[in-house]
């Protein structure tokens, strides 16, 4: 646990980008996790960990305020998130379980639209980004003709276009092949080195230097009977 609160990266500034203070989420009166104190600095890559159903997705959605009910506080550059909401949104890129790809559009059209939501990009930028994720030659195919992994890759191509500081990614590796994952990890490291931060969930251990871990099992609500039962079931 000590490793979580002392930070070993050296390129960070003094104030954290994001600060969780006594942060906790409750769903259906079941405490998922509580009392999280955690700082995320520029240059961090944070993996939110925990077995299925511990609340990783819930945490990410609360952070992006898609789910506004939580306990404790989240600070964005020292200011309460609800006050700095606009400023935070303009620095945020979120890719969830559902990536927002329209099947009738082509990869190029999809990416152009998604990237226009937080930034302007030229057409050649877009084509470059698609080429980066291995979709060269597929730019003009309707997306329903692409495979599961190819569709995910379109959403991930946003990472090459965005200027957002904070990347929040819920299981970005889903359906992506080995070469793709390797490339993504290099990108995360690069983004961190540039002064951004990445918060991701994954059940595959990412191969990233200086990865910080936020393990939800450490914070899981102790008093909830069902939660402990599940852990028992996992470990058998």
């Amino acid at each position: 646990m000590a490793a979580l609160t002392t930070h070993s990266t050296d390129h960070k500034t003094n104030t954290a980008l994001l600060t969780f203070k006594q942060f906790g989420c409750t769903r259906d009166s079941r405490v998922l996790f509580e009392g999280i104190d955690f700082d995320i600095y520029a240059g961090d890559v944070v993996q939110v960990e925990g077995p299925n159903g511990t609340g990783k997705t819930t945490l990410l959605r609360a952070l992006t305020r898609l789910l506004p009910d939580y306990e404790g506080e989240i600070l964005w550059r020292g200011k309460t998130l609800s006050h700095a909401h606009y400023d935070f949104l303009s620095q945020l890129l979120f890719i969830g379980h559902l990536p927002g790809i329209k099947k009738t559009l082509t990869p190029r059209e999809n990416l152009a639209f998604l990237s226009s939501l937080n930034g302007t990009s030229t057409l050649s930028d877009i084509d470059d980004a698609l080429a980066q994720v291995g979709l060269y030659g597929y730019e003009d195919m309707p997306c329903y003709q692409l495979s599961a992994g190819q569709n995910r890759r379109i959403a991930l191509a946003r990472l090459y276009l965005t200027k957002a500081l904070v990347w929040v990614l819920d299981e970005p590796y889903t359906a992506v092949d080995v070469a793709g994952i390797k490339k993504l990890e290099a990108l995360f490291e690069y983004h961190a080195k540039q002064g951004g931060c990445v918060i991701l969930t994954s059940h595959q251990p990412p191969n990233i230097r200086d990865l910080k871990h936020l393990s939800l099992t450490d914070y899981s609500g102790g008093d909830s009977s069902s939660a402990s039962v599940i852990e028992g079931a996992y470990d058998e």
């Binding site: 990536p99 329209k102 559009l105 937080n118």
Partner: protein, 229 residues
């Protein structure tokens, strides 16, 4: 930086995308019209084929059916965006959702209400609508369907996270549609009977202005609530 991204560029991109989607499935754009046409065809079959009977019913029937056609096309307004996660992205965009929502409702009207209005006179012929009724029908539908699109979008936003929204949506929205229906139909009826109809038309215009301003607020709230499910 993305801060410098102007609102209008995002709005334009939402507008263009929604239109492209509608045009790509070109048959979808024709659907409200065809639905309108078909229900109009069924009425004589169900009721009576006589022109005199039909002429009497025409103003009301045309309006009720146009309203149904609008209603039924609402379901898809936010549904697909919700299902594939686009809605989350729109909400997380730093641009105000208020304007984005206006654009989406507008595109809905352009692809359903407007074409419906354009073919309505043809259907007036089918239902033997007296010729005095055509211009009021046209005007009332123009204002009315725009209102319907905006008001209906509230219902679409409220039901978007429910799995089988279709009929629940009708249930929520239909009471809100009633005033529009009443004034719309009576505009046409008055004209056919030779009574001045500008009053009813003015009320429709007022509804329209009201809906354009207030509905987006409700829609934004409803959408934000829907993604929390």
């Amino acid at each position: 930086m993305s801060n410098s991204q102007s609102l209008s560029a995002t709005l334009l991109s939402v507008f263009r995308r929604d239109l492209v989607i509608a045009f790509r499935q070109r048959s979808d754009m024709l659907n409200p019209i065809v639905f309108f046409l078909m229900v109009v065809t069924m009425m004589p079959l169900g009721i009576s084929p006589q022109a005199s009977t039909l002429a009497q019913l025409a103003p009301g029937l045309l309006w009720v059916i146009a309203l149904l056609a609008c209603l039924l096309s609402l379901d898809g307004l936010f549904r697909t965006d919700y299902d594939d996660g686009t809605l989350e992205q729109l909400i997380l965009s730093p641009q105000p959702l208020y304007f984005i929502v206006i654009i989406k409702a507008l595109v809905h009207w352009l692809t359903t209400g407007l074409p419906l209005t354009l073919v309505a006179p043809l259907l007036g012929v089918l239902l033997a609508l007296p010729s005095d009724g055509f211009i009021p029908l046209w005007l009332s539908l123009l204002l009315g369907t725009l209102t319907l699109s905006f008001v209906g979008a509230i219902g679409a936003a409220l039901t978007v996270s429910l799995r089988k929204g279709g009929l629940l949506l009708s249930l929520i929205i239909m009471p809100l549609y009633v005033p529009v229906l009443i004034f719309g139909a009576s505009t046409v009826r008055s004209a056919v009977e030779g009574i001045p109809y500008t009053g009813a038309l003015a009320v429709l215009g007022m509804f329209c202005a009201l809906a354009l301003m207030l509905a987006p607020l409700a829609i934004v709230g409803a959408l934000k609530m829907s993604v929390q499910e």
